[in-house]
């Protein structure tokens, strides 16, 4: 499938029709959408057009946005692409959905993900297999697989995803789009199904960087329902920073495909015309995968305790004793990768093993944060490849460890809470993408670089 062209928005209704035509044409094959809100979206588009005519339209008037299906849209299915929640419907709107609606965006539907956002290529969805629209034999990247694919296939102007270890940036890179994970605490996560509370952040994917920024501006800010956002509004009032010095950590290039590493280095060379570029070293980057996997698994196993076959979706045998019913429901309705992460997380937080594993991971994370802070005193942003490889073909066998290692360049932004953006290197998705990390709450700097 060829890259769709993104024409300017003439009217909300016309733009929506274009996007729905792309859905009708491609989504039988691509399978990005879990649910298309066709009727609701058409009604909304008409109303938005009226507001445009009255001169009262919001900042996202007429933009068509898809939402990852772990973000609540009231009255719609909220499956997290798991059998556990296959029939579950959201009873309220997530904060980001409220803000999209208030800004006059048109929400076109919910899109697929790896089950509970646990995966790096999109193949861990238990509901459907999303394909990469740029090469249908290849994975779209994960976990926000449908977000990347729907953007790449021209089925929306932008898509929301969630990013716990790179889940927005990986599909953006694999689908040749821009992807942005803001500073931890910049966007409210009220209404996002949590994976790991100290790492999760909602992000945006788009083929257009300016659109991505508009969506981010519309959904950012403090929300009393998510206390991690309490600094967001104050930070917005800060004088915008400007990037002058780019640091290139040598560790970012270890284990990266030669072709992608060469492309990123060439891009960095071009940036030397406008910025001072320095090689830097962050030694703990070698340990990102273990630090991340242990921290994430501990938080994930705790977050998953609410899925007990009693309160949400999949129902266990209610005539059985509670814990037996609970355990059997979880075994029947949760996928392999979910169980693996719950088991590791449970083990490393058990009283007798916690000091050697979970506490140690948190101490290592602190060391990593200190190293980042120290390096970023002297450089404004960091640059490196987004993903170590391009998207692989379906069926290429990966061990769990190989799958976890694919995240190695993105997860440090989650461990340190820094913002990060990925940008395609060329019009060919096989050339890979470059990634920039910024300082806390200097998200805007990342939109001006590259």
């Amino acid at each position: 499938m060829k890259n769709p062209t993104h024409q300017p928005i003439v009217s909300a209704e016309e733009n929506l029709h274009r996007k729905l035509s792309a859905v009708d044409k491609w989504d039988k094959e691509v399978k990005a959408f879990i649910e298309v809100y066709r009727e609701d979206a058409l009604k909304r588009a008409k109303a938005v057009d009226n507001r445009i005519r009255e001169g009262k339209a919001g900042p996202l008037a007429g933009l068509v946005v898809a939402v990852k299906n772990n973000i609540a849209v009231k009255g719609k299915r909220l499956t997290c692409s798991s059998k556990m929640l296959e029939t579950h419907r959201a009873v309220y709107n997530a904060a980001v959905v409220e803000k999209l609606i208030a800004a006059d965006a048109i929400i076109v539907g919910s899109v697929n993900l790896d089950e509970f956002a646990c995966g790096v290529d999109g193949t861990y969805s238990t509901l459907q297999r999303t394909k990469n629209p740029l090469d249908l034999e290849r994975v779209p990247g994960g976990s926000s697989a449908g977000s990347g694919a729907s953007v790449a296939a021209g089925m929306c102007d932008a898509a929301l995803g969630s990013d716990t270890g790179g889940s927005v940036r990986c599909p953006a890179a694999f689908c040749n789009a821009f992807g942005f994970k803001p500073t931890y605490g910049a966007i409210s996560r009220y209404g996002l199904s949590d994976l790991a509370m100290s790492l999760d952040q909602i992000g945006v994917i788009s083929k257009d960087k300016a659109v991505m920024k508009r969506v981010f501006d519309a959904i950012r800010g403090t929300d009393p329902r998510d206390q991690t956002t309490q600094l967001a509004d104050a930070m917005l009032r800060k004088k915008p920073a400007e990037a002058k010095v780019i640091g290139v950590p040598k560790e970012f290039f270890e284990g990266v495909d030669k072709h992608i590493a060469a492309g990123v280095k060439k891009k960095v060379k071009e940036l030397e015309k406008h910025y001072e570029v320095r090689e830097v070293s962050i030694p703990t980057l070698k340990y990102t995968v273990p630090i991340y996997q242990l921290t994430m698994a501990a938080e994930f196993s705790s977050a998953m305790n609410k899925y007990d076959g009693l309160r949400y979706g999949f129902t266990g045998d209610r005539n059985e004793e509670l814990y037996s019913s609970f355990s059997k429901a979880r075994d029947a309705a949760l996928g392999k990768e979910i169980k693996r992460r719950i088991m590791i997380g449970t083990y490393i937080t058990m009283k007798e093993f916690k000091d050697a594993w979970y506490s140690q991971a948190l101490k290592a994370r602190e060391v990593m944060k200190e190293e980042f802070a120290s390096v970023m005193k002297d450089v404004d942003v960091l640059a490196g490849p987004a993903m170590p490889t391009g998207p692989w073909k379906f069926g290429e066998k990966m061990t769990p460890l190989e799958m976890y290692a694919a995240d190695m360049l993105t997860i440090a932004a989650n461990l340190t809470g820094t913002p990060a953006i990925v940008e395609p290197l060329s019009s060919d998705f096989k050339d890979g993408a470059i990634q920039f990390y910024g300082r806390h709450f200097e998200d805007d700097v990342l939109f001006g670089i590259g």
Binding site: R89, V91, Y92, S198, P224, Q227, T228, Q230, L231, T284, Y287, V289, P290, Q293, L294, S301, N305, D308, L310, R311, Y312, T315, G316, R318, E320, E321, L322, Y323, S324, S325, F326, S327, R330, D331, K339, R340, I342, M343, I344, T346, Y347, M350, A356, W357, S359, Q360, A361, K363, A364, E366, V367, K369, E370, T399, P400, L401, Y404, T416, G417, H440
Partner: protein, 98 residues
């Protein structure tokens, strides 16, 4: 990692796993934890002052006054629908103590 340890973890994790699943997880967890063990090599920058990183930013406890707000009838209905048995005005949950 041995299968009996994995069985114990599965009980704590409330996962009713089959023997095949237990066997596979034993070998996978053994391999993964063997790799993750490298975190134990990272030493704190100030010896003896290892800090655990729980929070990203210095946030303050945010307290608010309790206030009575209306319950969303749709949310209440959604919760009610998850329970199939009733006892008068109470919803009945499965027995938790044998």
């Amino acid at each position: 990692m041995d299968i009996e340890t994995v069985r114990k973890i599965s009980e704590v994790a409330r996962l009713h796993l089959t023997e095949d699943e237990l066997e596979q997880l034993t070998s996978e967890m053994d391999e993964l934890l063997g790799h993750f063990k490298s975190v134990q090599d990272i030493k704190p920058s100030k010896p003896g002052h290892a800090k655990e990183s729980h929070y990203m930013h210095d946030l303050k406890n945010a307290m608010r006054d309790d206030s009575v707000v209306a319950c969303d009838p749709e949310q209440a209905e959604a919760i009610r629908n998850e329970f199939t048995k009733r006892d008068g005005r109470y919803l009945t949950a499965p027995k938790s103590i044998k």
